[in-house]
């Protein structure tokens, strides 16, 4: 669906960011991978914690569990609130130290704007 003729624009592909690359930031790219791995493990750990809390909530309320509803349902608003708080604390505690050199380990959570 691309029409090159419509462009009066040469050299687009040379603009940084026009083509998706695979940047690494450390001379030793193993460090790049290790950081990515710890983030991925953190996310997967969080998935398990979320699931466990959801299972506990369902079991304590209904005394029986439907696997389907665990995939398609959601925790209660109250539990979600507790989970949100816990998640923030875990991320701060585990990863914050990466920024301790300039005091970023104690920075408060912020949205983009």
């Amino acid at each position: 669906m691309t029409d090159k003729k419509l462009n009066d624009l040469d050299g687009l592909e040379n603009l940084p960011g026009f083509k998706r690359g695979n940047p690494t930031y450390f001379e030793n790219e193993v460090i790049d991978h290790l950081i990515s791995i710890t983030l991925e493990l953190g996310a997967e750990l969080w998935v398990v914690k979320d699931r466990l809390a959801h299972v506990e909530e369902v079991l304590s309320e209904h005394n029986k569990l439907s696997l389907d509803s665990l995939s398609t349902g959601k925790p209660s608003a109250l539990l979600q609130e507790q989970l949100d708080l816990e998640r923030t604390q875990i991320i701060k505690r585990i990863y914050g130290r990466l920024y301790s050199k300039y005091g970023g380990d104690v920075a408060e959570e912020k949205s983009a704007i």
Partner: protein, 363 residues
Amino acid sequence: MGISEAIYKRGKTAGVFPSLSTRRDEAYMDFIESARNLLLHAQQEPIGEYSKLLLKNAGKSMEPDPKSTAEAIELLMKDNVLKTYYRIKRTLQESFWECTYSSLHMRKNDLLRALDDAEKIGPGSVAYDLDFSIPEYATAEIHIQPGGNVNDPLSGLLYDYGSKVFMGGAADNDMFADMQASAVATPQNNKVHRILDLGCSAGVTTSALKRIYPDAEVWGIDISAHMVRYAHARALGQNLDINFKQMLAEELDFENNHFDIVVANLLFHEVPVSISRKILSETLRVLRPGGSFTLIDFSGDKSRDVYTMFFGAMDAADNGEPFLPGFVRSNVEEIMEARGFEMHPYDPDKFILAERIGFKPNH
């Protein structure tokens, strides 16, 4: 099942966004969003101070010119903390898209069917052409979104969910769009019959404009059929009567002097400057005399220092923003003025969402 239920089978997240397909994916995404808020957004100020100190200690120029910017990249990207920050930023972006893409594509057929169904009903309408010629510049994978804006049938949903997570809560319930739309200038003589939103994506600002001007005829145009298809379904879910159409902002299919208000929210930094110039000419053409144009986007380099230029250059290269540096350097308010807009005073210190407001002259 109704249209909105099919799209939002698991309900909506934060009021307006499509929920992901499983609780597992949502929990994963909760982590990504929190990690972004804590490890990226919350760091922006302190890491900025830290970076500026590094530049100062190395005796580097703080001017925003290209040479100083290149030197800043060279120096700062030797620092291990900054390398870590940019590694985390890129990894969170990659993980975000991997999860969103696979989660929404898991329901692809359902979602596409829902978009098809939505096309047949109103309020509002959608028009597009599957043979539309897409200029090459528009195929960039902005924000490294898989397929970019134009090459994935679920681009609109992917984009919408992306804006939820990238804004870290600020876009929930369309709060951010409502705020942006409230910054849109009213035209001279205050009469608003027709409004055009350029590069409307998921139609979020378009919808916010319709809420402010419920009696106006509102149009949202985008280069991507997948965007306008989704925008229509999204507006339908809010019962808003808006016309969405696939169109190039640089080749508008509207009569001269047709609109009272034209808006472009975050479009200009995503197109090459040569296209921006054409869009501005077209905007002037379709605006009626006294009509207002509000361009909301990042600030130009006149109001920046070398650090914000460095930050933008990193985003450009590693977060798929190839046209951002050119846009910043173009100081678009000057192009607007040169094209003939009567400019409203512009606040150059507003870094993130600088509104440039121009009116079409009455003579």
